[in-house]
C-alpha cells in the first residue's frame, strides 16, 4: 500500500476496518467524531454493523453484547464520553471478553474543552471503573503508529480476552500526516469456545461478570491477575531515541513524547547529551526499562499534558536513585518544543534540587514564570 496523507482519526477508523472490525457502536464527541463518521459510511458499505447509540453508556453496552458473540467490535469516544463508559468497561473486564476502545483525550475535568490533553492517563492506566481489572493501554504518537496500534489492539484483545484501549489525543486525532494503511484482511469470525452465539449442537454458554459466591469471585480476581502477569511479561512496548550516550533522559508518551523528540533533537544539535524514552504501552508500563535506565542516567525529565500522572509511575521505577524533573502544559495546551528545550537546558546546566516533589517544584517554577 502506498503512503497517503491521512487524518489521525480517519486512519484509525480505516485501520480497524481493514483489521476485520465487524461492528462499531459510538456517540459523537469532539475531537473523536471523525472515527464515528468514517465508520458510519464504511461499515454499512461492507455489509457490517454501525449503530449511533443514544449515549456512551448504551454504546459500551452494545459493544459488550456484540463482544459476547465473539465478533471484532469497537467503540471510540473522548474524555467525558469515556467516563460514561466506565461501567461497561468494568463489566467487560469482569466477563473476560475482548473489545477495543479508543479515547481521543481532550481538556478537562468536566466539560473542559475540545483541545488535546493527556488528563485521562490515570483513568485508563490505573482503573476508572470499579473493581480490580486492567486493560491494555497503547499510546500512539504519530498517525502511522495509530494505524499500527489499532491493528495490534484487536489481536491483543482477543489473545488475552480483555479490553485494549488506544489512548490518544485531539492533536494526533486531528492532524494529517503521510501514512500507510494495511491491506484489507478478510473478516473471520472465529468460533471461540466461550462465545454466546446460540447453543446449536453444543451445551449452552453463559457470559457474566457476576460471582455471587466470594470464593468464586476471588478465583476470578486471581485469574485476572495471572492473565495480567502474562501481559506484563509479553506486551511491554516503548521506543528509545539517542539513549546510547545519553547523560539524562526525557520521558513522554503520545503527543508530549512527540514534542519532546523535537526538543531532544534540538538539544543534541547544541551538543547536549540527552535521550528520549517514549512508553507506547502505558499499561503494561515499562517499569523494568526505566528501572534499568535509572542505573545509568543522571536524571529524568518527564513531560506530560496533565498534572504529572505518568510522573508517579516513573518515580516508582526510579525509586529516588536520581532526580526526576517534571514539565507540563495542561488544559488542552500542547507544549512547544522550545519550552521543552529550555527545560532540557535547565536540567543540563543547573544543580537539581530533590527536596521537593517534582510536581510542586514545577508548579512553583511555572507560576513564577507566568507571573513575570
Amino acid at each position: 500500500m502506498a503512503r497517503e496523507l491521512l487524518k489521525g482519526n480517519v486512519a484509525m477508523a480505516e485501520a480497524a476496518v481493514r483489521a476485520g472490525l465487524e461492528a462499531y457502536f459510538g456517540y459523537p464527541i469532539t475531537p473523536q467524531t471523525e472515527v464515528l463518521e468514517h465508520l458510519s459510511a464504511r461499515l454499512p458499505e461492507l455489509g457490517r454493523t454501525f449503530v449511533q447509540a443514544e449515549s456512551e453508556v448504551a454504546a459500551i453496552n452494545m459493544v459488550y453484547g456484540a463482544a459476547c458473540t465473539g465478533t471484532r467490535v469497537m467503540s471510540s469516544s473522548s474524555s467525558p464520553g469515556v467516563s460514561l463508559m466506565m461501567e461497561g468497561i468494568s463489566y467487560i473486564s469482569g466477563t473476560e471478553i475482548p473489545a477495543v476502545l479508543v479515547n481521543v483525550m481532550r481538556g478537562g475535568p468536566g466539560l473542559g474543552n475540545i483541545a488535546p490533553s493527556q488528563g485521562d492517563y490515570n483513568q485508563a492506566v490505573h482503573g476508572g471503573g470499579h473493581g480490580d481489572y486492567n486493560m491494555i493501554v497503547l499510546a500512539p504518537s504519530t498517525v502511522q503508529e495509530s494505524i499500527d496500534l489499532m491493528v495490534l489492539a484487536f489481536d491483543l484483545a482477543e489473545k488475552y480476552r480483555m479490553i485494549t484501549m488506544l489512548l490518544t489525543d485531539g492533536s494526533i486525532g486531528q492532524m494529517m500526516e503521510p501514512a500507510e494503511l494495511p491491506e484489507m484482511r478478510p473478516v473471520v469470525r472465529k468460533d471461540w469456545d466461550w462465545a454466546t452465539n446460540g447453543a446449536i449442537g453444543r451445551e449452552r454458554r453463559i457470559l457474566s461478570s457476576i460471582y455471587i459466591n466470594p470464593p468464586l469471585e476471588e478465583e476470578t480476581n486471581l485469574r485476572l491477575m495471572k492473565t495480567w502477569q502474562k501481559v506484563q511479561a509479553n506486551e511491554v512496548r516503548y521506543k528509545e531515541y539517542y539513549l546510547d550516550d545519553a547523560e539524562f533522559i526525557v520521558v513522554g508518551f503520545g503527543t508530549s513524547g512527540r514534542v519532546a523528540l523535537s526538543a531532544v533533537r534540538a538539544a543534541r544539535a547544541q551538543g547536549i547529551k540527552v535521550g528520549l524514552f517514549r512508553p507506547i504501552s502505558l499499561n503494561p508500563f515499562p517499569y523494568a526499562m526505566i528501572d534499568e535506565l535509572a542505573n545509568k542516567a543522571s536524571a529524568f525529565l518527564v513531560v506530560e499534558m496533565n498534572s504529572g500522572q505518568m510522573l508517579e509511575d516513573i518515580r516508582l521505577a526510579v525509586r529516588g536513585r536520581v532526580p526526576v524533573e517534571f514539565y507540563a502544559r495542561l488544559g488542552g495546551i500542547v507544549p512547544f518544543p522550545d519550552e521543552v528545550l529550555s527545560e532540557i537546558q535547565r536540567v543540563a546546566t543547573t544543580k537539581l534540587n530533590t527536596d521537593q516533589h517534582p510536581r510542586d517544584a514545577w508548579l512553583a517554577r511555572f507560576t513564577a514564570q507566568s507571573e513575570r
Binding site: 465487524e22 461492528a23 457502536f25 454493523t49 449503530v51 447509540a53 443514544e54 449515549s55 453508556v57 448504551a58 454504546a59 453496552n61 452494545m62 459493544v63 459488550y64 453484547g65 456484540a66 463482544a67 459476547c68 458473540t69 465478533t71 467490535v73 461501567e87 461497561g88 463489566y91 454466546t196 452465539n197 446460540g198 447453543a199 446449536i200 449442537g201 449452552r204 454458554r205 453463559i206 457470559l207 457474566s208 461478570s209 457476576i210
Partner: protein
C-alpha cells in the same frame, strides 16, 4: 404387590428450554410463571438453540441459570443495549431481554426507549411488580400512589415522588415498535393470555417486524408483605386499574400470523 399396566399419559413436563435446577425465587412469586411461559414458547417455536437471552439486574439476575439457552448478564438497565449489540451482529438469532421495572423503567429508561425507537428486532419481557424486589422492597417508578415501600414508608407521595410510569403506553408511541401489550399473571386465564402474547412477541421478532414487548403484571409477596394468594388479589384489585391490560400496539402484519 399388584402391578397394574397403566398406559403413560404425560400431560405436563419441564420444557426443554428450562434447566432442571431449583430456582431461588420466593414462594408464590410470579417470576417463575413468567420463566415457564417463555420456555414453553421457545420450545413450541423450536428456537431454543438459536436463542440468546439477556438477564437483568434485579431478582431475575440469575435467569441465565434457569433457561437452557445461551445467556449473558447485563449491567442494571442496559439489557436492551446489550441485546442490540448481539442482534445486530447475529440477525438470524432470537434475542430477548428479561427485565424488572427498576431495571427497565428507571435506570434503563434511555436504553429501552431507544431500542424501541430504532425498531430493534428484539423481544422484551417486562416484569412489572411495582417494587424493587432484589434490594428489599424500595419504591419503583411503577409503585402505585400511596403504596408503602421501604423507601416510601408513608406511602408514595406523588407530590414529591412523582407518578407511576406506564411503559406499554409509552413504548406503543414508538414507530419502531411492532408489538406492545400488557398482560397479567394473577390467574390461569390471564396466564394463558400472557403466554399467547409472549408467543406473538417472539413471532414479531422472527418476522422482522420490529421491537416487541410484553409487560407482565407480577407479584412480589415478600416485599409487598402479604401472602402469595393475597398478592394475586392485590394485583387484580390495585394494579390492573392503574395498568390496564390490553394491546397497545400490534403491527398490522401480525394479523396474518397463525400458530
Amino acid at each position: 404387590m399388584i402391578s397394574l399396566a397403566v398406559p403413560e399419559n404425560l400431560v405436563y413436563s419441564r420444557p426443554e428450554s428450562l434447566t432442571s435446577v431449583h430456582n431461588h425465587y420466593c414462594p408464590g412469586c410470579t417470576h417463575g410463571v413468567a420463566h415457564r411461559l417463555i420456555a414453553e414458547v421457545l420450545d413450541e417455536m423450536n428456537v431454543r438453540d438459536h436463542t440468546i437471552g439477556v438477564a437483568p439486574v434485579g431478582c431475575s439476575v440469575f435467569a441465565y441459570n434457569y433457561f437452557n439457552c445461551d445467556f449473558v448478564e447485563a449491567a442494571h438497565g442496559r439489557a436492551p443495549a446489550m441485546a442490540t449489540g448481539i442482534k445486530r451482529v447475529l440477525p438470524d438469532r432470537v434475542v430477548f431481554t428479561y427485565q424488572g421495572d427498576g431495571d427497565l423503567a428507571s435506570i434503563g429508561m434511555a436504553e429501552i426507549m431507544h431500542a424501541a425507537a430504532r425498531g430493534e428486532n428484539i423481544t422484551v419481557i417486562f416484569i412489572n411488580n411495582a417494587i424493587y424486589g432484589m434490594t428489599g422492597g424500595q419504591m419503583a417508578p411503577t409503585s402505585l400512589p400511596g403504596q408503602k415501600t421501604t423507601s416510601s414508608p408513608n406511602g408514595r407521595d406523588v407530590e414529591t415522588a412523582g407518578y407511576p410510569i406506564r411503559m406499554a403506553e409509552i413504548l406503543a408511541n414508538m414507530d419502531g415498535a411492532g408489538y406492545i401489550v400488557r398482560r397479567s399473571l394473577h390467574d390461569p386465564k390471564n396466564i394463558r393470555m400472557a403466554k399467547k402474547a409472549i408467543r406473538m412477541a417472539f413471532e414479531t421478532q422472527m418476522h422482522g417486524l420490529g421491537f416487541s414487548m410484553v409487560e407482565l403484571l407480577s407479584t412480589c409477596p415478600t416485599n409487598w408483605g402479604i401472602t402469595p394468594i393475597e398478592s394475586l388479589t392485590w394485583l387484580e384489585d390495585h394494579m390492573i386499574p392503574a395498568y390496564p391490560l390490553g394491546d397497545y400496539k400490534v403491527s398490522e402484519h401480525l394479523a396474518a400470523i397463525k400458530f
